[in-house]
């Protein structure tokens, strides 16, 4: 929240730690922002946080994308459960029923 003054090293470590912990609340995008924000830092601790953040982001996105792919392709087969899970049911015939 400080608009123009750059952060000191200690402040950066604190910010990185808080962002890393907050990313565990199902926020992979926050991990990605953390990794980008401290990408060019030379500090060891910050580099560790950056690596952990990249790792967490890729793992989480991998799982999320797999789940989305599974859902979008198999929704037809699931019948009522698929309809209950979905937000928007697209138009058109499904390949499964017909």
């Amino acid at each position: 929240m400080d608009p123009s003054t750059p952060l000191t090293e200690e402040q950066k470590i604190k910010v990185a730690k808080k962002m890393y912990i907050a990313g565990f609340f199902f926020l992979p995008w926050l991990w990605f922002c953390l990794a980008i924000y401290f990408r060019k830092e030379k500090n060891e601790i910050l580099q560790k946080y950056v690596k952990k953040a990249y790792f967490g982001f890729f793992v989480f996105t991998f799982f999320l994308l797999t789940w989305m792919a599974v859902f979008l392709s198999q929704r037809d087969r699931w019948g009522v459960k698929g309809d209950n899970l979905s937000v928007n049911i697209p138009y058109g015939d499904s390949n499964y029923d017909s």
């Binding site: 608009p3 123009s4 926020l27 922002c33 789940w67 859902f71 979905s86 937000v87 928007n88 697209p90």
Partner: protein, 437 residues
């Protein structure tokens, strides 16, 4: 007051012209400045210095300095408006979906007119009454802000702002995402949907109000403006036009007149030496002042408030440093002098801040132009950018908080109606007769 300034400027210029010797110039100017500094307040000095810069010595330098800052305000405004044009055109303009059914873009947010239960509804508003209602809401929230600020509850202001931004981001991004899903005939499950929206909003709040990569937070401001403009575009057209005109008048009143709430807010912030916690967009975001101990002295532009929350530009005080830095080049006519370089660097580091409400109402005007032909879109775009450049020019000359809305909106509206009424007919004629082929 402007006449006085011009006279003093002319006197100063004449005195400088008469003297040949550089030392004599410096001495005389120092004497003059000392005499005049005692009598004249800072506004006149700043005005004279900018005028002096513009006319006398460094016109190309001035234009060079201004263009860098101009670029970094014009680019995000252009990006916002282009995004809004694409968004509105693909989703809400009548046409066909990807599966052949006609687009129904207006089904996500109920407008005020539905009487589902046939009960007596006290909230039946006309179109223009709705516009008046929105402006009234904005006025009321500014006054609440002012009262809260005077009572020194800065934390409450900040938390209220954060909460309302969070709610708006959640709700409007979810609504727009649903519209996109329906238009492009996609399916998604609740889990992924909630994950995406939740991620988007929470990270948006964190980067805007806390630390985060600067371009991501500016990007969120742009996306936020696009979302809000596309939501406001769902209101009836008459409401939108009247809202735009009323908002520009309200902006002039709020910023320039002494009773205006925004001006009073600025004065309060200056007196209390506090920063106003608002959503603003500032250019030159990547430059940090490493050489100087002095703060960046930002130049501000005022903006107006939105329905439920306020996004205002900060107007900090013009400190002594800025005054000194600008007064100094009068005494040194050598461009290669180091002090001049310092002035140039500070001048180029001082940032122009443009408030978020400006973005939103420019985008609203663009979305209104999208409902007509492509020609109106381009021409309104040009009109808004022209108005913005003119406002920035005035900002540099007058060096105080200025309303960013009225000139752009008036120019945009004039260009839109001229195009709609006159130029479109011309376009149809030459399209039919194939003159240009």
């Amino acid at each position: 007051m402007t006449n006085q300034n011009q006279n003093q400027n002319q006197n100063q210029n004449q005195n400088i012209n008469l003297n040949q010797n550089l030392n004599e110039n410096q001495n005389q100017n120092q004497n003059q400045n000392q005499n005049q500094n005692q009598n004249i307040n800072s506004d006149e000095i700043l005005f004279r210095q900018s005028e002096y810069l513009m006319r006398k010595f460094q016109p190309t330098l001035f234009i060079e300095l201004i263009s860098k800052k101009l670029k970094w305000v014009l680019i995000p405004v252009s990006i916002t408006m282009i995004l809004v044009a694409f968004f509105i055109e693909s989703i809400y303009i009548s046409g066909e979906n990807s599966n052949g059914s006609p687009k129904q873009g207006f089904n996500s947010i109920p407008v005020f007119k539905s009487n589902l239960n046939n009960s007596t509804n006290n909230f039946n508003l006309n179109d223009w009454e709705l516009a008046l209602f929105i402006v009234g809401l904005i006025f009321a929230t500014t006054i609440i802000f002012l009262i809260l600020f005077k009572l020194k509850c800065y934390k409450i202001l900040l938390y209220w702002l954060i909460l309302s931004t969070f709610g708006m981001l959640l709700f409007f991004s979810a609504s727009s995402f649903l519209d996109i899903l329906q238009i492009f005939n996609l399916g998604i499950d609740w889990i992924s949907f909630v994950m995406l929206i939740y991620n988007f909003s929470v990270v948006g709040i964190l980067t805007m109000f806390w630390h985060g990569p600067k371009w991501i937070s500016q990007g969120y401001l742009i996306i936020f403006s696009v979302l809000l403009a596309s939501i406001l575009a769902k209101l009836p057209k008459t409401t939108n036009w009247i809202l735009l005109i009323l908002i520009s008048f309200y902006d002039i009143f709020a910023v320039l007149s002494s009773k205006g709430p925004l001006k009073m807010l600025i004065d309060e912030a200056v007196k209390a030496d506090q920063q106003l916690p608002f959503l603003i967009y500032s250019s030159a975001a990547w430059i940090f002042s490493t050489n100087f101990d002095k703060e960046n002295n930002p130049k501000k532009k005022e903006k107006e408030n939105e329905k439920e929350k306020e996004k205002e530009s900060i107007s900090e005080d013009e400190n002594e440093e800025l005054r000194r830095l600008i007064v100094r080049p009068i005494n040194e006519f050598d461009l290669k002098n180091e002090n001049n370089q310092e002035f140039i660097q500070n001048f180029s580091e001082s940032r122009i801040k443009l408030g978020l409400g400006d973005f939103i109402f420019y985008s609203l005007l663009m979305s209104l132009a999208c409902f007509s032909s492509y020609l109106t879109v381009f021409i309104t775009f040009i009109g808004i950018l022209t108005g913005l450049t003119i406002t920035l020019f005035f900002l540099v000359v007058y060096e105080k908080a200025l309303p960013a809305l009225p000139i752009s909106i008036f120019l945009g509206i004039v260009f839109y109606f001229l195009t709609d009424l006159i130029l479109n007919q011309f376009k149809e004629k030459y399209e039919q007769s194939w003159i240009f082929f």
